[in-house]
């Protein structure tokens, strides 16, 4: 367990009373809305089954409909307190975590990195059919301007079954945290650092041939760091400038971050800016409804992730500004 983390979260730290209050509202919402709505749906289902069963009981149709309607009314009624509960969690808990890691950063729970910036990074070529996100953080870490948020970008496919019914399926283009920082060196061209799928799947000889075919992303840049080459494939428009950005030092640093996250990592350099996409497989920074808030496990996870993302500035050494860009 990391030092100090427990102090902040529970039980003596600043968040202790806040979490206790929120836990009370969670239980209240559960009692006032969730329990009745569950019961209403169960009752509705029982009446409906009775109505549809072999020895059908005709009079159960009306109570069934009434029960379902009651359930729906509760679902609608629960929305407002549920939103308030979520907002309070974000405003009081997540904001405190961010402040603890780096005071002075601005946190907007409902905003996200705009789709235009996401696409401008050049990391993902497919245009999303659905683009959502929240939990946006912006501000300065040392001399470096950063912003990041949660993003989920998806595309859809439609299939028709034998009866001619249409089925829509949604697939993730990217789900996770999208991080943008002002890079510490001036540059003009584009460099992409992508997880190396081809080399891992097909081995170095055939994989290399595949990588070269990917012309739309730029020329293949072969770097001298063997571990880095195994983990990533690099494309760029300028052999020298890509190496100017990806120094031996930065390659080592990127490898370390990859190890820390243990998830696919996408990085691009464009317009004097560094874009980092950190994949995640679930929604972050949300309060749970089913589990007690006093169980601090998810909170510890959020803290670790926030610390890692804000720490990218240090990890990538972005505050060293000796190359003529302040």
């Amino acid at each position: 367990m990391e030092n100090g983390r427990n102090d902040i979260v529970f039980p003596d730290g600043a968040l202790g009373p806040v979490l206790e209050d929120l836990e009370k509202s969670r239980l209240l919402i559960k009692k006032k809305y969730f329990t009745p709505l569950t019961m209403a749906f169960i009752a509705g289902a029982i009446f409906l089954i009775a109505f549809l069963s072999k020895n059908e009981v005709k009079w159960t149709l009306i109570p069934s409909i009434l029960s379902f309607l009651t359930g729906i009314v509760y679902v609608v009624l629960a929305q407002k307190p549920l939103n308030e509960y979520k907002n309070a969690y974000k405003k009081n808990v997540i904001k405190t975590l961010i402040d603890t890691i780096h005071p002075g950063l601005d946190y907007q729970p409902r905003l996200c990195i705009p789709e235009s910036r996401f696409m401008a990074s050049g990391l993902f070529t497919r245009t999303p059919d659905r683009y959502r996100g929240d939990d946006m953080v912006t501000g300065m870490v040392g001399k470096t301007q950063i912003s990041f948020s949660e993003i989920r970008a998806q595309y859809k496919t439609e299939t028709r079954d034998s009866k001619g019914n249409r089925h829509t399926q949604w697939h993730d283009i990217f789900r996770g945290i999208f991080f943008i920082a002002d890079f510490n060196k001036p540059f003009k061209t584009r460099t992409l650092v992508l997880p190396d799928m081809a080399e891992r799947v097909f081995g170095s000889l055939f994989g290399n041939a595949l990588q070269k075919l990917n012309k739309g992303r730029g020329d293949l840049i072969k770097l001298e760091n063997v571990d880095f080459e195994k983990a990533f494939v690099v494309y760029g428009n300028d052999q020298v400038e890509s190496r100017y950005i990806l120094t031996p030092d930065l390659m080592e640093r990127i490898l370390k971050v990859k190890e820390k996250t243990g998830k696919p990592l996408y990085i691009s350099f464009l317009d004097n800016t560094m874009f980092v996409a950190l994949s995640q497989n679930k929604d972050l920074f949300e309060p749970s409804m089913g589990k007690s808030l006093l169980n601090t496990k998810p909170l510890e996870e959020y803290y670790t992730i926030l610390k890692l993302v804000i720490g990218l500035v240090e990890d990538f050494n972005l505050n060293t500004r000796i190359w003529g860009k302040n």
Binding site: P186, E224, T247
Partner: protein
Amino acid sequence: MAPLLLIGVLLFFFLIIPIIIYNGLIHKRNMVDNAFASIDAMLKKRYDLIPNLVNTVKTYMTHEKETLTKITELRAKALANRDPDTQAQVDQEMTGLMRSIMVAVENYPQLKANENFMQLQASLNNIEEQIAAARRAYNAAVTTYNTAIQIFPNSIIANMKHFKPRELFVIPAEERKNVDVGSLFNS
């Protein structure tokens, strides 16, 4: 039909494939030359900055007169003789001298605070990074080219057409380490 097919196969093996290999080798050799040209361009940029640097620091740096003279001489030598060997040799010496100057700056607080100097320092740091990058790009191109002329069957064509392996640029030991340049200058 059979003789036609035979001619086709022979043409393929003795004309088309060699042409493809030969063109590939030419392409890789040009990449090497191109990469060298970019090192040369970066080095030129550094030489352009040197008179400025010497002028700015000479009034402050009384103990490093000799190093500064040496830098000026090296610059003149490099500009007079632009063949790859001289460039490589001068570059190595120059990199070392520049480094020692930048470290010596620590002893001159007034110089460190001089705005003109700070700008120059940033430009020089930048160019040093670009030179390092250009050297690595050159070495990558040379490695690809050397491998290409050594593997079979390319080696047959390479021998016939006198493709010679190229030397790698020596990368100073300091650059291979992960130095935190910031700690040198920012303290």
